[in-house]
């Protein structure tokens, strides 16, 4: 029934039971006292074929993402921040980091620690468009009006830096395992990344590809070489 329209508008045929009686205004038409809250069946639509259609794509994508996460190698970074607190980067973020920075991941981490400390001292947090939003205003789900440790602030700081890579990972995950047609494509995406003591390994259907990153372990690597937030101060879409 329409709000504030509780009075009868007269005697007419009920839209639902077709009995001529006292009727009220409803979204479905003129309805009697008995039928005024009944839902119409079926719902009026121009396209009758979609009346019984149930969209399961959302559920399938959620299942694909769960399966994708399970298949990912157990890689995670426990990063000790300047105040001694430890930020445990989750699996998806760790893979996003490796996807984006590849063999430069060792340079990313000290840069990241420094960024967290700077934001903590300035009482700011980064957003997609700004580096200097006040605490609690970045719209990140873990954003707070006050932080006690660097580790609490760390997920808010790392999010803009890895946003695009996480999105790409999520898109790969949502699509599910490749079909036969897709696997026949020579340019299919490698699905597993592994790390050794001095190398990164990419496992694909063609076998293992190993990249030596011992060169990154050299002393004196300049942190400014790391493009922490991309060229424009933010992550690329």
């Amino acid at each position: 029934m329409y709000e504030n329209e509780t009075e009868s508008v007269g005697y007419a045929e009920c839209e639902h039971c077709s009995i001529r009686t006292e009727v009220y205004l409803t979204k479905h038409g003129l309805r009697c006292e008995t039928c005024k809250n009944n839902q119409p069946e079926p719902i009026a639509t121009y396209t009758p074929d979609v009346r019984d259609y149930v969209d399961t794509r959302g559920e399938e994508m959620a299942e694909n993402i769960e399966a994708f996460k399970d298949e990912l190698p157990e890689i995670g970074f426990d990063i000790e921040l300047e105040d001694g607190s430890v930020y445990e980067m989750d699996k998806m973020e760790s893979h996003a980091l490796l996807m984006k920075h590849g063999e430069n991941w060792k340079q990313f981490i000290p840069a990241f620690i420094e960024h967290v400390a700077k934001h903590f001292d300035d009482q700011t947090e980064p957003t997609k468009f700004s580096m200097n939003a006040d605490w609690g205003t970045s719209n990140h789900e873990k954003s707070q009006s006050a932080y006690e440790t660097h580790a609490e602030l760390a997920p808010v700081v790392v999010y803009p830096a890895l946003r695009a890579a996480k999105m790409q990972l999520s898109l790969m995950a949502m699509n599910g395992p490749p079909t036969e047609d897709e696997t026949s494509d020579d340019n299919s995406t490698p699905s597993v990344i592994g790390m050794g003591d001095s190398e990164l390994n990419v496992y694909s259907k063609h076998g293992r590809i190993t990249v030596d990153h011992s060169i990154l372990e050299q002393e004196g690597t300049d942190m400014d070489d790391i493009d922490f937030f991309g060229e424009n101060g933010g992550d690329e879409e």
Binding site: G10, Y11, E13, E15, L25, K27, H28, L30, A44
Partner: protein, 305 residues
């Protein structure tokens, strides 16, 4: 009622309140019947109903031709009995009607309207709801079990035809004059084909709600919103009476189907002939894009090859 409706929901409430006024109970010989669309009856419904029931033998359910050797004459006699009976009513227009009565009481009743309604309803009864071979969809499905009920249906059809005329007249498709203006919201904006507009409205109502000639319409907000959006699109102010007639129309959208290519070709040919007769030469009424362009005859060599 001159209301500008800001949204479909507001319009829907007013339309429903108007629909609730549809049924009027009349009585004759102890039988009570409901006449619908009585908002459009500018006469005393009870008196008119009583007159047709008691002063005639007309029954819309029966074949009016069955007792005749010459069908045309018999039909004429049957319908004239109907019109002759109603012409005696004070609110009926006729040779002896009192114009002062119409002016004072604001009551009008045309015997031609009831005759047209009677022919429509009779055709529906005899052809199982199919009013014509061309527009064969069943728009009217009469179901009266008594003569009184059938005569109540007759008045309902008569009112429905009046309602439809009020609604379609504003577009000038059947009768009237097609008018367009970008400034006046009582008519469609320039550039719209009026046949297409009426077709769109009637088809939308037919698909989503269905034409309800013999009963009261009961549109949902969903249907009303679809109609509201069409009026919004054509830049025209929507009104309750302007829409109601489409819900109770005795014919469907096919009746208003815009001209196809053949139809337009025929009308163009007629236009050419008329123009040439008026101007006394055979020039085409279509203007050349440029005066420097060669005449059409010079291009014959291309088409002959």
């Amino acid at each position: 009622m001159n209301i500008v409706f800001g949204d479909a929901k507001s319009f829907h409430k007013h339309l429903l309140k108007f629909c609730a006024q549809s049924g009027t109970v009349v009585e004759a010989n102890g039988v009570h019947c409901v006449i619908h669309h009585s908002q459009y009856a500018s006469y005393n419904l009870q008196k008119a109903f009583e007159t047709v029931v008691n002063d005639t033998e007309f029954d819309p359910r029966k074949n009016q031709d069955q007792d005749s050797e010459d069908d045309d004459i018999t039909v004429s006699v049957k319908y004239s009995e109907l019109t002759a009976a109603v012409e005696k009513l004070p609110f009926c227009f006729g040779e002896t009607s009192d114009l002062r009565y119409h002016y004072t009481n604001r009551e009008y009743f045309s015997p031609r309207n009831i005759e047209r309604a009677a022919r429509t309803l009779n055709t529906a009864y005899l052809h199982d709801g199919e009013l014509s071979a061309v527009y064969s969809s069943k728009r009217i499905e009469p179901s009266a079990t008594t003569r009184e009920e059938a005569i109540a249906e007759l008045f309902t059809v008569m009112n429905a035809k009046q309602a439809t005329m009020d609604s379609t007249f504003q577009f000038g498709v059947i009768g009237g004059f097609e008018q367009s203006s970008d400034d006046d919201d009582s008519m469609p904006d320039n550039g719209f084909n009026h046949s297409e507009i009426v077709y769109a409205i009637q088809d939308t109502i037919g698909q989503l709600h269905g034409e309800t000639t013999l009963s009261q319409p009961n549109p949902s907000l969903h249907v009303t919103r679809a109609i509201f959006n069409i009026y919004d699109e054509i830049g025209m102010k929507i009104s309750v009476r302007g829409v109601y007639g489409f819900f109770v129309n005795t014919v469907g959208a096919e009746y208003y189907e815009p001209d196809d290519a053949d139809g337009r070709e025929r009308s163009t040919s007629m236009g050419r002939i008329t123009a040439s007769m008026m101007r006394g030469n055979n020039d085409s009424i279509e203007r050349w894009a440029s005066d420097d362009e060669p005449p059409l005859e010079s291009l014959d060599s291309y088409t002959d090859s």
